[in-house]
């Protein structure tokens, strides 16, 4: 599903080059549940963003579902993001002043779905994450766990093949974190490929494989 070869990411800070990723090669198969661990600043989020097509690598090649995405135009990248990938962030990244229902409808509207259909699917998605009774709440009227569940509903409403979650439980207590992980387990059981970044061992244990990153390189996998 995901094939990364010799991916590097270098930031230029003034005249100083900052090598964040130093040559990552990695294969993740369809249906896998992979956890990425590593110390803070080791480049986990950078790697996730590259996998999710939110960022571009400095060098290296990346193929998603057998097709190279390195040279895709901005428009085609947006298409892949929209159709194939779901994203969940540590900071939730919900749109402000937009209620849960509209929030979850948005990705479908970007796909060109009509409003009725989008609404129906968004309702289903929110029900699936246990928020049937919170559809008309604004983000600031929801608890942290509920916000993350809205984010997950928003990520899975398009039925993505790949779900990327960057510390999805980082801002939640362990009980709420457990509920979120149960949702991800369910998704994986339905065949969705899941990649998750975490600092917590017991979260990583939900995954079938853990990749350790150290200083921009894969340490063990």
């Amino acid at each position: 599903m995901i094939t990364l070869h010799a991916i590097t990411k270098t930031y230029l800070l003034g005249s100083q080059e900052l090598h964040v990723l130093k040559g990552i090669s990695l294969t993740i198969h369809s249906g896998e549940f992979v956890a990425i661990m590593g110390p803070s600043g080791s480049g986990k989020s950078t790697l996730m963003n590259i996998i999710g097509l939110l960022d571009t690598p400095t060098t290296g090649t990346y193929a998603l579902e057998g097709k190279s995405v390195s040279g895709l135009s901005e428009k085609d990248q947006a298409h892949v993001r929209s159709r194939r990938i779901g994203f969940v962030f540590q900071a939730f990244n919900l749109l402000q002043r937009m209620n849960a229902l509209h929030q979850v409808m948005q990705p479908l509207l970007y796909q060109g779905a009509n409003r009725q259909e989008a609404q129906k699917r968004a309702e289903d998605s929110l029900t699936a994450v246990g928020l049937a009774d919170r559809m008309h709440h604004l983000p600031n009227e929801l608890s942290g766990g509920q916000r993350q569940r809205v984010a997950i509903a928003r990520a899975l409403v398009t039925h993505p093949a790949l779900m990327l979650a960057d510390e999805p439980t980082g801002a939640l207590d362990s009980h709420t974190g457990g509920e979120i992980m149960a949702l991800l387990d369910q998704l994986n059981a339905r065949g969705v490929t899941i990649v998750i970044v975490t600092h917590e061992q017991h979260i990583a244990e939900h995954a079938k494989r853990t990749i350790h990153i150290l200083d921009g390189l894969i340490h063990t996998q």
Binding site: N49, L54, D55, R81, S82, L94, Y110, N114
Partner: protein
């Protein structure tokens, strides 16, 4: 089409969910549009008022007044049409009925002469009284000054010969003294004399700076001999046969009167002849400057409004950049982002523009009602103000969006 409705729908959602920012943006546009439309309307109205005024005075008019020639015709013009106030003092006046006879005999190209003696006096009916401009005139007053009776009759030759104590009232005076009653045949006390009302003038209305309806006419002979005891006139209005000869006639009149008054040197000239056309021109200059000034003020508020819109849009850029990052992460294309922001700021600006126009219409109605002054809305000013404000609104609405849409999604997401 469905897609567009979709975008419009979410734009309206966005506008509604961010009332503060939407309101402030619209406010900028509203102020800009309303001030320009209103100011230009006032300027236009002032100009029209002056032109109407000129036309209502009668055409081809020369005005002879006692006293040294004034520096500008405008001052005399204002003095003559200074409303309720009295005319020049008879004690210093040098114009007499003899001058009128001389002009009639010696100057060709005159259509009619209308000598007058004007004084501010107290009019009393029962327990109502008012101070108004009382003018002694001859039957040639209406054609020369383009101001005639609506009911009853004006002063006739018979009234003049008999020095009769009759009066023709302006509508404002009728309203003040008689209310809704018909005054014709009733008596009015003017300076110890009882005058019978024989006619009512047509309504001229408030015209700019004075009310032409605040006036009363009596026979010139009555005014001179029975009321004032003098032979002095406060003005002679002359209508010229052909407009293109006005300047020549003015020269002729000056010559005849200098001779009549036995004045050799024009330095000692004790009267002056105003050409209405000149006065009109000067007055037009004045209103043009006035309009320009108003336009300047309006332009400033337009720019201030524009800067307001700009500020709000730029201040919200952080929040919006993150929003754009999120939208991209959930599948928005650059095109979707730009469309959304374009529609959003267009709706806001156009809505603001509409409200601005409505507001200026309201302002014009208020002015017309309370100032008794006809402000005129110019389509051009609406278009100009709308184009500018809406342009600024849209430009600064999509500029941040355009910049953010160019970023890597992750850079937009990280933007602080």
């Amino acid at each position: 089409m469905l897609y567009f409705l979709e975008i419009l729908h979410s734009a309206l959602d966005e506008i509604r969910s961010n009332k503060m920012r939407s309101g402030l943006t619209m406010l900028g546009v509203i102020i800009g549009v309303a001030s320009v439309v209103l100011m230009v309307a006032i300027g236009r109205g002032a100009q029209k008022t002056v032109t109407d005024r000129i036309q209502s005075m009668g055409t081809n008019l020369l005005i002879i007044q006692p006293g040294r020639p004034v520096q500008t015709d405008v001052r005399a013009f204002f003095r003559r049409f200074g409303g309720g106030g009295g005319g020049g003092g008879s004690s210093t006046s040098t114009l007499t009925s003899d001058d009128v006879l001389a002009l009639n005999k010696q100057v060709s190209g005159l259509r009619a002469l209308s000598p007058e003696h004007r004084r501010s006096m107290q009019l009393i009916v029962g327990n109502q009284n008012m101070q108004t401009s009382v003018v002694g005139v001859t039957p040639s007053y209406p054609p020369v000054n383009n101001f005639d009776v609506q009911f009853g009759s004006f002063i006739t030759e018979k009234h003049l010969k008999g020095m009769e104590k009759i009066v023709v009232l302006g509508q404002e005076v009728v309203r003040a003294l008689f209310g809704t009653q018909n005054p014709i045949g009733k008596d009015v006390r003017i300076e110890n004399g009882i005058f019978t009302v024989v006619g009512i003038m047509e309504e001229k209305g408030q015209q700019g700076f004075s009310n032409l309806d605040d006036i009363a006419f009596i026979p010139l002979t009555t005014m001179l001999q029975r009321v004032q005891g003098t032979d002095r006139l406060t003005a002679i209005n002359v209508s010229v046969e052909r407009p293109e000869h006005t300047e020549q006639v003015k020269v002729l009149i000056t010559a005849v009167l200098l001779n009549e008054h036995r004045i050799r040197d024009t330095i000692d000239q004790d009267f002056n002849v105003l050409n209405q056309a000149e006065a009109v021109e000067t007055l037009n200059e004045v209103t043009k400057t006035f309009t320009l000034l108003l336009g300047g003020i309006a332009a400033i508020s337009l720019i201030v409004g524009g800067i307001g819109v700009m500020n709000i849009m730029l201040v919200s850029v952080t929040e919006r950049t993150r929003e754009i990052g999120i939208r991209k992460a959930i599948g928005a294309r650059k095109r979707d982002i730009l469309q959304q922001f374009l529609v959003e700021s267009t709706v806001l600006s156009v809505l603001g523009g509409m409200i601005g126009i409505l507001l200026s219409f309201g302002g014009v109605l208020l002015i017309n009602y309370f100032a008794g002054f006809q402000a005129i809305i110019a389509i051009g000013s609406i278009l100009l103000a709308l184009t500018f404000s809406v342009g600024v609104g849209i430009l600064f609405g999509i500029l941040p969006a355009y910049k953010a849409a160019k970023l890597n999604p992750i850079d937009a997401l990280r933007y602080e």
